[in-house]
């Protein structure tokens, strides 16, 4: 997920390393993702929030502003706004302006849909706003198979508009899949061409990502490719907390946030105000509360779940592994949605323990996300990928209670 951009540390010798400090949680999150809508013009096959249709219960303009006021008081210096496609909200630009006036910087993720010349100029002229364009293939073929027809051109046009408007250092965000790992250099060239910052992240089996994870997650060999590429280029790309499980491959730790920060430094507010420990963990098991009850701070400080996550974790089956210090057992969300125990190895454990554990899991019993706003066309996207349209048996709980209302 989204870790702080680049961090530096004013260190003194006798204090605990930062990663140890983070384990006890911070007074306010530093990687707060806030999804403003479940509506999206696209239906990406791997959408982490299973977005598509707006939820009628989404936070109103005033409710969002009230949370922004609270984030200002809590000194949450910036948030990562996403969705769905956040720019489809009619009040999107108003809300961004409101946030930056209140010292809450905004980095928003978009597929580029609304980044025309005029908005690009506004963005370039506004302080504390950063844009992150999603691109999952360096060529239209690879990108559009996952993100939908025309999405490559939309993203490239948005980047061209931002560049022409004078915006520099905006982010290009790529989810690494089995299909695009050999395009890493190509992505870097695209980013350099726009004087933009490349960000690569891990495909997690969250939202619709669970349905395509088997086909799209990197092979063991491809994990090596990512690891080696990051050793060479790690300082030039952002990775958030995506690849710390790969640290078990070598002795040199990769740059980035090397721990699972869920509920400690990482958090999600979803479009209906539900607060989860991590944007990749939209499930009751990671639900801390709702901002409509007593605001965000009450959840962040007092939720039982979050306080539990800040207790020392047991390493479980990983404890006997020589790489545990480097790898920390990997990503909680990835384990959860593949049906693995949270204190055991990551499904992509580089020592192969994940694969062995997955073989024991009954695929029909893996947890499903708490929210699913997929449009019916999301299934077609899987067909484009060459996947069977339905990978899991339909069950009553798969269907959003709001189906048909939006």
């Amino acid at each position: 997920m989204n870790a702080p951009l680049k961090t530096s540390t004013a260190n003194t010798s006798e204090v605990l390393p930062l990663v140890e400090q983070f384990k006890y949680g911070l007074d306010s999150p530093i990687c707060l993702t806030w999804e403003w809508t479940y509506a999206c013009n696209l239906s990406c096959a791997h959408c982490l929030s299973a977005s598509g249709r707006r939820d009628p219960d989404e936070l109103s303009t005033d409710e969002i502003k009230a949370v922004i006021d609270e984030l200002e008081r809590m000194q949450v210096f910036y948030v990562n706004v996403g969705g769905g496609e956040p720019t489809v909200r009619p009040d999107f630009w108003e809300l961004v302006a409101y946030a930056v006036e209140h010292n809450v910087g905004i980095k928003f993720s978009t597929n580029g849909y609304r980044i025309d010349e005029e908005h690009a100029r506004w963005l370039a002229a506004t302080d504390y706003v950063d844009v992150q364009i999603s691109l999952d293939g360096a060529t239209p073929e690879v990108n559009d198979a996952v993100r939908g027809p025309g999405s490559y051109d939309t993203a490239m046009a948005a980047m061209a508009n931002l560049y022409a408007a004078g915006m520099r250092g905006f982010k290009i965000s790529v989810v690494m899949t089995s299909q695009n790992i050999d395009q890493l250099d190509e992505f870097k060239r695209i980013a350099d061409g726009f004087e933009a910052q490349l960000r690569i992240t891990r495909l997690r089996p969250s939202g619709r990502g669970a349905d395509v994870w088997d086909e799209l997650h990197p092979s063991a060999e491809q994990q090596w490719t990512i690891y080696r590429w990051l050793l060479d280029h790690g300082d030039e790309v952002l990775t958030g907390d995506s690849f710390f499980h790969l640290n078990a491959l070598g002795s040199e730790p990769l740059p980035g946030l090397n721990l699972c920060g869920a509920g400690r430094v990482v958090c999600l507010i979803d479009p209906v105000g539900d607060v989860y420990a991590c944007p990749f963990a939209i499930h009751d098991a990671f639900h801390g509360g709702n901002v409509r009850e007593a605001g965000f701070g009450a959840v962040w400080w007092d939720s039982e779940l979050f306080n539990e996550l800040r207790q020392p974790q047991t390493g479980g089956a990983c404890l006997s592994c020589s790489a545990y210090d480097a790898c920390q057992g990997g990503c909680m969300a990835a384990k959860f949605f593949t049906g693995l125990p949270l204190d055991g190895p990551d499904p992509e454990c580089v020592k192969g323990h994940g694969e062995a554990a997955l073989a024991e899991v009954d695929a029909e019993r893996t947890p499903r996300p708490a929210q699913d706003h997929s449009k019916p066309s999301a299934k077609q996207q899987q067909v484009l990928l060459g996947l069977p349209a339905l990978r899991r048996p339909d069950r009553a709980c798969d269907e959003s209670p709001l189906a048909g209302m939006t």
């Binding site: 702080p4 951009l5 680049k6 961090t7 530096s8 540390t9 004013a10 260190n11 003194t12 010798s13 204090v15 605990l16 930062l18 400090q21 006890y24 911070l26 007074d27 306010s28 530093i30 000194q75 210096f77 910036y78 010292n103 910087g105 302080d127 504390y128 950063d130």
Partner: protein, 85 residues
């Protein structure tokens, strides 16, 4: 360049957020975070303007501590968190 004998202050673009280990500093201009990993460092940074120099701001500490806190101030200066006053 950090000059331990020069006067410093917290950059006007920086906000400090208290945390149990010390504080988190955020620079609104560069969008960078820095971590002040001890309460003592936070105290020193807050008191910088009362001293003619960075060195004077750490003069109440033992020799070894002075060295390590001057190093910490140097890295904050490098990140633009503290600036010449």
């Amino acid at each position: 360049m950090f000059d331990p004998d020069g006067p410093y202050r917290l950059s006007p673009n920086v906000s400090l957020r208290p945390e149990r280990f010390g504080a988190l500093a955020y620079h609104f201009g560069t969008r960078k975070l820095s971590f002040m990993k001890t309460p003592q460092l936070v105290e020193i940074v807050r008191e910088l303007t009362r001293h003619p120099s960075a060195r004077s701001a750490v003069s109440h500490l033992s020799g070894a501590e002075q060295t390590s806190y001057l190093k910490a101030l140097a890295s904050l200066a490098h990140a633009g968190m503290i600036v010449p006053a």
